[in-house]
Amino acid sequence: MSGFRIQSWNAVAPGLNCPEDWRNWLQAPYLLDTQLAKIPLKQIPPLLRRRFTELGRCAAGAALPLLEDIDSIPSVFASRHGDTPLTLSLLEGIAAQQPMSPTGFSLAVHNAVSGLLSIARKDVSEVTAIAASEQLIAHALMEAMTQLQEHERVLCLIYDVPLPELYQPYVTTEPFPFALAMILSRGTGECFQLAQQQSAVHAEVSELMAMMKCLCGLEEQVCFSGTRGSHWQLCKADPEQV
């Protein structure tokens, strides 16, 4: 099976808080802030909320509105770099021979955001936290699709924050924090198909931008081409074939 349905989605970035915001922005883009305005996360009790760094607030801010009527859902959390600002601050602390903050250490692991959300939602469903150097979106969707074999629906959450300046010369990332949450379903929502491609397709915009255009109905397909490994294409599909 390479087809699935997207039952609902939501995404956040600085100044963009819902699908309508994204659609308007993609049609008339302007430079986004590099920092997220504080998302209130009122659904999460204050003592737990203080543990969410910008990365976690971003991810939770995108996912929580989709999960209001869902008690339990297995999920895939995908981030290329994880909480690099936090990790760097811990490394700087080690270099300065300062004792490490236990809270900081516990939040620096790749599955920290998923752990916080599962505690906040009291949801003990299975969680997979992945990273991919390229084609993060394609790999996250693939992981979520395989979980659809076992479950009726799966949350797929893709998120990153800009790298600290120290790391920026080494890799190009989105210059703003973002999170994209999608509920993949076997039976409800618009149909998509993910297929392997023989050759790379030159992309004019980033994977995230291409994906958002497709979700907003501005494009029919997205190509995920890497500099190495395989190439993938996501396209809208006929419900009969999914």
């Binding site: 004792p99 903050s101 236990p102 809270t103």
Partner: protein, 86 residues
């Protein structure tokens, strides 16, 4: 509230990022963990680190004695005072 009580409460607020809580909101005698303020095990480790940084107090991670020291602000104040007398 003595100066040391206030100091300990401010240490807790800063070390644990308790943004919405002020020193006056923390009781001297109520439990800090689970009931009362509602802190958790990671907070306990964080307070242990803050005690070490601020007052030079080192505690064993998992002894009954440590549990008693962490029971309330009053207990932490008593610990700091007893260490200062040594």
């Amino acid at each position: 509230m003595s100066n040391l009580h206030l100091d300990v409460k401010q240490m807790i607020i800063e070390a644990l990022d308790l943004e919405d809580i002020e020193a006056d909101d923390i009781s001297d005698s109520d439990p800090l963990f689970v009931d009362g303020l509602g802190l958790d095990s990671i907070d306990a480790l964080e307070i242990g680190l803050a005690l070490q940084k601020r007052y030079g107090i080192k505690l064993k991670a998992d002894s009954d004695e440590t549990r008693q020291h962490f029971a309330s602000v009053n207990a932490l104040v008593a610990l700091i005072q007893s260490q200062a007398e040594k």
